[in-house]
């Protein structure tokens, strides 16, 4: 088929897909994809290195969110923050892992919807506070049936805590008018000659934001049922 569009750049995508399917080391897969993409469009090696270097320096803001809070979190953990979070929640009789995470989902999504996206996050909220609390609640659920929380169930609770943070953030932030995604959508539509009110885009996001809450909250209810079943087995 004769085509004016160059399809060679897709080689990098193929490398990514193959690498992840073969479960190779992710870092090697990504750097191989970088080199393959450069080679596929016949970029000279030095130009490719320069492109990688420029991009590396330009994206230095990205790891900041993860790196900077770690000193405070690490120190608090050394002196028992996670143990205390776990103990505090296990004193609340009605708390279950699922209910706790539904409350967290509501807070995370609601806060993001009014622009407060920094309430939450994996290094600052999930690892030191929410995951130990969810685990503490799950341990109490198991203890109520006279068993201990299995490793598989513990890992499932942790993974669901991280998932809840992501779902709350993603589907909350997009209904905040001043959020980057809304600005990006407006810019791109304007480039195509279509003028859209950001408020309308934010409003039409609300049905999906509510659906995300309902679907994920329902799954968190199912997490409680799973924990009860595990505890009885």
């Amino acid at each position: 088929m004769q085509t004016a569009v160059n399809l060679w750049p897709l080689l990098g995508v193929a490398v990514i897909v193959a690498g992840f399917l073969l479960r190779l080391h992710p870092v090697l897969v990504v750097i191989a994809a970088c080199l393959a993409t450069g080679a596929a469009v016949l970029m000279p090696p030095l130009a490719l290195l320069a492109a990688l270097g420029t991009a590396f320096v330009k994206t230095r803001n990205l790891p900041l969110i993860l790196l900077l809070p770690l000193a405070a979190i690490g120190l608090l953990e050394r002196f028992g923050l996670r143990e205390h979070a776990q103990a505090a929640i296990s004193r609340v009789k009605s708390a279950t892992a699922g209910r706790l995470l539904i409350v967290y989902l509501a807070i995370r999504e609601g806060a993001a919807a009014v622009g407060l996206t920094s309430i939450g996050g994996h290094p600052t909220m999930v690892r030191p506070l929410m995951a130990p609390m969810a685990e503490g609640a799950a341990e109490r659920q198991a203890a109520a049936h006279g068993t201990v929380l299995s490793d598989a169930a513990r890992q499932r609770v942790r993974a669901m805590t991280a998932a809840t943070d992501n779902v709350g953030l993603f589907f909350g932030e997009d209904i905040f008018v001043a959020f980057g995604a809304i600005v990006l959508m407006q810019t791109i539509l304007r480039g195509e000659g279509i003028e859209v009110d950001p408020l309308h885009m934010a409003l039409w996001g609300i049905p999906t934001a509510l659906s995300a809450f309902v679907i994920h909250a329902w799954r968190l209810r199912r997490l409680d049922l799973y924990l009860d079943r595990e505890a009885r087995a």
Partner: protein, 318 residues
């Protein structure tokens, strides 16, 4: 501007340099020299990134990726307090332990909303364009100081704990940065155009429902490949959204854009390419399966994608 992002690049550079030095002198780390080299190179990028020749910075990226990819980045055996001591300290400090942790979001929010517009003389106190990141930087330092005071620890101990967590993350810490580089490279060479071309050439979009499904599923698939909804949105909207949904089926562009972006986010929930949301938390939570978070998210993402298709189909002519 008094406080800007560049200042925190130096903070990060200094932290990474200390991590490198601590790794080099840690005999419990089986690969202490290659580990130290990795963090040292990373520190160099933060301390001198602007002044390095671009090709040299690129060579550093490749070297770091090879070091990390072939198992050269390991951790030492951290010195943690015994369980009993930690529980005793948790009981002694009680709820006070929460304060420095909660200070991080609190100070970030205050800095990024209230202090954003504060001027000292003619200068902004913090860079208004980077208010959230600068706010988080300030918050982290405030929280570290509060944590030191509360636990009567020295800043050196805080750095040791910092290194323990960075060590535990290892290569997972570097992966999101590397993926961002790949994303920029993809954009530069026109991966988006190629994908859009394939989608448009091979899928007939005669009925509104098929066109809506192609737009939403394409958005999610493209995000799975690129790891970022912001990369998928212009391609799918330019390729399918505007010519077909708006042009042929008279969709309301606001509805199309809003639901389209959310469809991309469904993809973000399902891809290892969005490493900072999906792979880093698995490392932070010490999960043996590095795809455990993705597996926890797929059953939310797929039904939500179907809901998006239905919503867009019924709402687009509003």
């Amino acid at each position: 501007m008094i406080l800007q992002l560049e200042h925190f690049y130096y903070v990060v550079g200094a932290i990474l340099a200390i991590v490198a030095w601590m790794s080099a002198t840690d005999r419990t780390n089986p690969r202490r020299w290659s580990t130290a080299l990795f963090w040292g190179l990373y520190a160099l990028i933060y301390l001198a990134g602007e002044t390095l020749p671009a090709a040299l910075a690129g060579a550093i990226v490749v070297a770091m990726a090879l070091l990390a990819g072939f198992g050269g980045v390991r951790s030492g055996r951290p010195d943690v307090l015994p369980d009993s001591e930690r529980r005793a300290s948790a009981a002694r400090l009680g709820h006070k332990l929460f304060l420095p942790a909660l200070a991080i979001p609190l100070v970030t929010v205050i800095a990024s909303t209230l202090l954003k517009d504060v001027k000292v003389g003619a200068l902004f106190l913090i860079d208004p364009k980077q208010a959230t990141l600068v706010g988080l930087g300030c918050a982290s330092i405030v929280a570290a100081a509060l944590a030191c005071r509360l636990t009567r620890s020295t800043p050196v101990q805080a750095m040791r704990e910092h290194r323990r967590l960075v060590d535990a993350l290892g290569w997972a810490f570097f992966l999101p940065h590397l993926l961002a580089i790949l994303g920029l490279l993809f954009t530069q060479v026109g991966v988006g155009k190629a994908v859009a071309h394939l989608t448009m050439s091979y899928i007939p979009m005669e009925s509104a429902l098929v066109a809506v499904a192609v737009y939403c599923v394409g958005m999610a698939l493209f995000t799975i490949v690129m790891g970022n909804g912001f990369a998928a949105f212009p391609v799918m909207t330019g390729g399918v959204g505007i010519p077909v949904l708006v042009g042929v089926f008279h969709a309301n562009p606001a509805v199309m854009a809003a639901i389209g972006m959310f469809s991309a986010y469904c993809g973000t929930l399902m891809t290892p390419m969005a490493a900072n949301f999906n792979i880093v938390p698995a490392a932070l939570l010490e999960l043996p399966d590095k795809h455990a978070v993705i597996k926890a998210q797929v059953p939310t993402a797929l039904p939500l994608l179907v809901v998006n298709i239905v919503l867009l189909y019924f709402l687009m002519n509003q």
